[in-house]
């Protein structure tokens, strides 16, 4: 195997022979290399966030008819570095009575919950961290670790508002986990495996074409899981005083900030891997780096979409948010799993992928139409027209009993 064919294994073998040549036991050398690989992947992910912050601020600026940062460096490219230095030099103010261990552990858990996902994403046909057989469930578990970080932050701050903010935030996250997990079943069902590499390899037709409505539901629930607009009630600066991270300053707050941006990008990568065919494209199997480029292009498309949504749509109220989840997304995702399972199992024995595509598209379109009709009917029933009074009733004592029967 050469470097271009199989980069990770090539480097690993070279380093392993180097370490064993220095006298390290083979088992220990393997462990050292695994830990080093994980550390490098984590550092690369964190460094990439610097570029993401610049990208987002520029695009949000343009959407709001202004330029965005453009002073520090060409096109403002060094602005995130300036922000980083500012945050590094700020003082850590620990509130009095704060529980030290949860307070300090919370930013670590928030970042860990996002970085863990990068270990299972297949960047190319032979570039990936680990090919877990249960990678899809691992992604859900990483989300749970992020929620733990929020609870630790709310509890450890010794601040009632932080606690309330943390509970509202966790309530939103665990509510939106349900349609997310249910729609994650659809790529698993269509490809027959929970391993992300197998899901990518079985996408000869992209799953977004085979299951457009579940893909849309997945995108919406992931935006809600990240806590971005329009679901950013949990960190709305104007409302609950910045929520659970109110008592954090300096780099600890910086870690929460980084975790949010990284989570948004990880959302885009997951969508690209699960529904847009991942690293698949012309000549991607022979040249892994080309697959990496394809994945990056697809991810940036989705990330651009989420940034545009953030800059455009107003924020939801908390009851609207819960309504959307429990009354629309959960029943719709459960029904879509049923419909996809039935249609797929009926059509797959026929063997032709085009027939499968047509049947599933028709099923999705039907479900979409039914959903729109149901939504329209429910909005209409809620907006009852006001009854115009035909006579003006003036309050008179002797006609009070009449008035009460007219109600």
């Amino acid at each position: 195997m050469t470097f271009w064919n199989d980069p990770i294994n090539f480097i690993r073998q070279w380093l392993e022979t180097l370490l064993v040549g220095w006298g390290v036991a083979p088992g220990v050398a393997q462990v050292i290399l695994l830990v080093a690989g994980a550390a490098i992947l984590g550092v690369l992910g964190l460094v990439w966030v610097i570029f993401l912050i610049w990208y987002e601020r520029k695009i949000i600026g343009r959407l709001q008819d202004r330029l965005g940062p453009n002073r520090v460096g060409p096109f403002g490219l060094f602005q995130p570095f300036a922000d980083m230095f500012k945050i590094f030099t700020k003082e850590y103010i620990t509130p009095e009575g704060a529980d030290r261990v949860p307070y300090n552990l919370a930013p670590v858990l928030a970042v860990a919950g996002t970085l863990m996902v990068w270990g299972v994403i297949p960047f190319a046909s032979r570039i990936f961290g680990a090919d877990l057989a249960v990678a899809v469930l691992f992604v859900v578990a990483a989300g749970s670790i992020g929620e733990l970080g929020i609870i630790f932050a709310g509890w450890g701050s010794n601040n009632k508002y932080a606690l309330l903010g943390a509970f509202r935030s966790v309530a939103q996250l665990i509510s939106y986990e349900i349609p997310m997990v249910v729609t994650l079943l659809i790529p698993v069902m269509l490809s027959g495996s929970m391993s992300l590499q197998t899901i990518v390899q079985s996408q000869s037709i992209w799953f977004v074409l085979l299951a457009p409505i579940p893909a849309l539901i997945f995108l919406i629930t992931q935006i809600a899981e990240v806590g971005r607009a329009p679901f950013d009630l949990i960190e709305a600066e104007s409302e609950i005083v910045a929520g659970f991270n109110i008592e954090y300053s300096g780099l600890k707050f910086g870690m929460f900030y980084v975790a949010e941006f990284l989570h948004a990008f990880t959302t885009a990568i997951l969508f690209a891997v699960l529904f847009l065919g991942g690293w698949r494209g012309p000549f991607a199997e022979q040249i892994p780096f080309l697959g990496f480029v394809y994945l990056w292009i697809k991810t940036f498309l989705i990330y651009f979409l989420t940034v545009v949504i953030r800059g455009t749509v107003p924020r939801f109220r908390i009851d609207q948010m819960m309504d959307i989840n429990w009354k629309l997304l959960t029943p719709l995702s459960l029904t879509m799993v049923l419909v996809t399972a039935v249609v797929h199992s009926l059509v797959r024995p026929l063997g032709s992928p085009l027939v499968t595509l047509a049947a599933l598209l028709v099923a999705n379109a039907l479900m979409g139409l039914i959903t729109m009709q149901l939504m329209r009917a429910s909005t209409r029933s809620r907006r009852r027209p006001m009854v115009a009074p035909s006579t003006i009733i003036v309050a008179r004592p002797e006609t009070e009993r009449q008035q009460s029967t007219l109600e």
């Binding site: 578990a141 989300g143 509970f167 495996s193």
Partner: protein
């Protein structure tokens, strides 16, 4: 001592320490946090036992749902932010003795078993085939009845807990 043995000893030590702290710490919120560490340690030991599926399900179900539910319940059932009074029963040394005796009895009885010191053989490839497990759960000759009973149990728990915890005064 291979690396895996050292790793397992570390994981077991952390889990047991967290378990002891979870049942003996004074503040109930800390007990929940120590429980989360214990559940983590149990998930890691599931992974060492080569059942990756149950390791991840442990994190998702226990840590991501049950532990968070425990934290919510602790917050909802406190009158003040601090715990007052002794947290252990007055005669707590009786359960301690009983538990120590039970542990000695368990280990003693198990050590007389012939396969107590068994070493692991390599698992065949079909052992980690999740599809086989999934098919067995819906096979009428296999485990569909426990599967359906578990679903009904979950439905009953869902409806029951909502009904029990509803505030019916308003």
């Amino acid at each position: 001592m291979t690396i895996v043995q050292v790793f397992f000893l570390l994981v077991a030590a952390v889990t047991l320490f967290a378990g002891v702290m979870a049942v003996s710490t004074r503040r109930i919120m800390h007990a929940a946090l120590w429980l989360i560490l214990t559940l983590f340690g149990v998930a890691v030991s599931f992974a060492i036992l080569e059942s990756a599926f149950f390791a991840v399900v442990q994190v998702v179900v226990y840590i991501g749902a049950i532990a968070i539910l425990l934290v919510f319940a602790i917050m909802l059932t406190r009158q003040v932010m601090v715990d007052t009074g002794p947290q252990l029963n007055r005669g707590w040394w009786i359960p301690a003795l009983l538990v120590a005796g039970l542990y000695a009895a368990l280990v003693g009885v198990l050590s007389t078993w012939s396969s107590f010191q068994a070493l692991p053989a390599a698992l065949p490839a079909e052992a980690s085939d999740l599809g086989r497990f999934g098919l067995a759960l819906v096979d009428a000759n296999a485990y569909v009845i426990p599967f359906e009973v578990a679903s009904v149990l979950l439905l009953g728990a869902l409806v029951g807990s909502i009904f029990v915890a509803t505030d019916r005064k308003g």
